[in-house]
């Protein structure tokens, strides 16, 4: 195993690089898609008849997108999109790296859409009312109050998706994308060391996913902020002067 590692370290690192590239970009773009769809789907229903129709139509289209991409395997989606594009363009195939990024992103987006929607719904309605009572619009409330809390609440699910993406990029080998699994297959054809190669690759995958899990856990703790706060001193004097001021107003 050490021998394999020594001989193919460069190839393995390239595989790791591509795997992480697709996993990171796929998760980030997927989250962005998810936020957009989640925000759209939780918009209040408009009163205007035409606006209501367009909102419903949009909901339907997005719902179809989510269901279709959640309901079919990513490996099949990769084949359909990659070869479908080639068919429509007289055999001209899409750039493999771009295809990989595109497929993982839209696939993750479908899952993220539901995760974000759940996160938005989980923020209690009272806070939205509190914001509306101050005269804030729906958009202002969403971006200043609801989304920051929703994103914090969904972080465990997002890191889950991230870990899944690191592993699932392996299915992109069907379109010839040089990620870690593709590299492993390549090594096996040269060394015939099937078990040792895949065991090595399994360990590499685990190091990646475990490292990312730890990193995101740290992120969560950072987002929670300090558990204590500082009482501001000499407040009594200030309080009195402010109270006097308030009375004079």
């Amino acid at each position: 195993m050490i021998a394999i590692l020594q001989e193919y370290i460069v190839d393995i690192l390239i595989g790791v690089g591509y795997t992480m590239l697709v996993a990171v970009i796929g998760t980030v773009v997927g989250l962005a898609i998810g936020v957009l769809i989640g925000v759209y789907r939780t918009l209040p229903c408009p009163r205007n008849k035409a606006a209501k129709f367009f909102k419903r139509a949009g909901d339907w289209v997005l719902g179809a997108y989510v269901e279709i991409f959640r309901g079919t395997p990513m490996m099949v989606q990769a084949m359909v999109i990659y070869w479908g594009f080639a068919l429509l363009n007289n055999g001209q195939t899409l750039n493999v790296t771009f295809s990989g990024l595109f497929i993982v992103s839209i696939n993750t987006g479908a899952y993220m859409a539901e995760i974000v929607r759940g996160g938005i719904i989980s923020v209690d309605r009272g806070q939205t009312e509190g914001a509306h009572a101050l005269g804030l619009s729906h958009t202002q409330t969403m971006f200043n109050v609801v989304l920051p809390q929703a994103l914090r609440n969904i972080l465990p699910s997002v890191s889950n998706e991230f870990v899944i993406n690191i592993k699932d990029t392996s299915v992109l080998n069907v379109i010839g994308f040089t990620e870690l699994f593709f590299v492993a297959k390549d090594i096996v054809t040269q060394t015939y060391q099937t078990f040792r190669t895949y065991l090595l690759v399994a360990i590499v995958y685990f190091i990646l996913t475990f490292g990312i899990s730890m990193l995101l856990r740290l992120c969560e703790r950072k987002m929670d902020g300090k558990q204590n706060f500082k009482l501001l001193g000499s407040q009594n004097l200030d309080a009195q002067s402010y109270a006097l001021e308030a009375q004079n107003d």
Binding site: G130, A133, L134, G135, L136, V145, G225, F229
Partner: protein, 250 residues
């Protein structure tokens, strides 16, 4: 608590509720509610649970759309059509505080002035500190809502509403979720505000507060105003049997 018996001198209407009705499907919650809020009024709305008090309050700032009748905000016709405009002038304090959990005490108070009134950062913070001091919460600027007690949360919520400079402040059972000690601290803040001449519309079960601080008490039951008058009239000499029954039990 100070006893304010004198009613507002020259009555200057701020808010008129005209023949307000509200139904949810088949269920009628409010029927022909009609009253006027004058500047400086402290009106307490009392009555049994389910009598429509909270719905009435929620209609006043258009959280619920009235089925019939209307809310007239005096001096600004636009505000009655546009809920966001109306809510800048008519603030609300909730039973469950509804503070923003992602923001600290200071930013809870500055969000409204900054986003809605487009106030600058320093100006908004000075304003927020002034009102937080008025409710005795100025030493907790950096605390998050989850680090505060219920009474402290409600005082912050009151300061947050005051930062918008409302002409009327609505209170929807502001002390119902609090223990007796905290009820005291919130009510004393509210009494101070009443003394300073803030116009307030308070749905409450605190009869002593209604008796001592309000200048008008409205008793509601089953979606209608059964009786209204000064605290003395309502508490010492109620005219309607329903009012007598309710008050004898509390």
């Amino acid at each position: 608590m100070t006893d304010i018996t004198a009613p507002a001198t020259a009555s200057q209407p701020v808010l008129c509720v005209q023949h307000l009705g509200k139904t949810f499907g088949e269920h009628t919650v409010l029927k022909d509610i009609d009253f006027t809020v004058n500047k400086g009024d402290v009106i307490c709305i009392i009555g049994p649970s389910g009598s429509g008090k909270s719905t009435l309050l929620r209609c006043v700032n258009l959280f619920e759309r009235p089925t019939s009748g209307k809310i007239v905000f005096c001096g600004d016709d636009n505000a009655c059509q546009n809920p966001r405009l109306l809510r800048q002038r008519v603030g609300m304090v909730f039973q469950n505080f509804n503070l923003f959990n992602n923001l600290n005490v200071l930013h809870n108070c500055t969000l409204g002035p900054r986003k809605v009134l487009k106030m600058g950062k320093t100006e908004a913070e000075t304003l927020a500190k002034k009102y937080l001091a008025a409710v005795g919460m100025d030493s907790y600027l950096n605390a998050k809502p989850k680090q505060l007690s219920g009474g402290q949360k409600q005082r912050v919520a009151i300061a947050r509403a005051l930062c918008m400079g409302p002409q009327v402040l609505l209170f929807d059972e502001p002390t119902s979720a609090l223990d007796p000690e905290m009820v005291g601290e919130v009510l004393s803040v509210m009494s101070d505000l009443a003394q300073q001449g803030l116009t307030m519309l308070v749905v409450t079960h605190e009869m002593n507060f209604a008796r001592n601080v309000a200048n008008r008490v409205i008793f509601m039951d089953d979606g209608v105003i059964v009786e209204q008058g000064t605290p003395q009239q309502i508490f010492d000499a109620p005219q309607q049997q329903r009012t007598k029954d309710f008050l004898s039990r509390s």
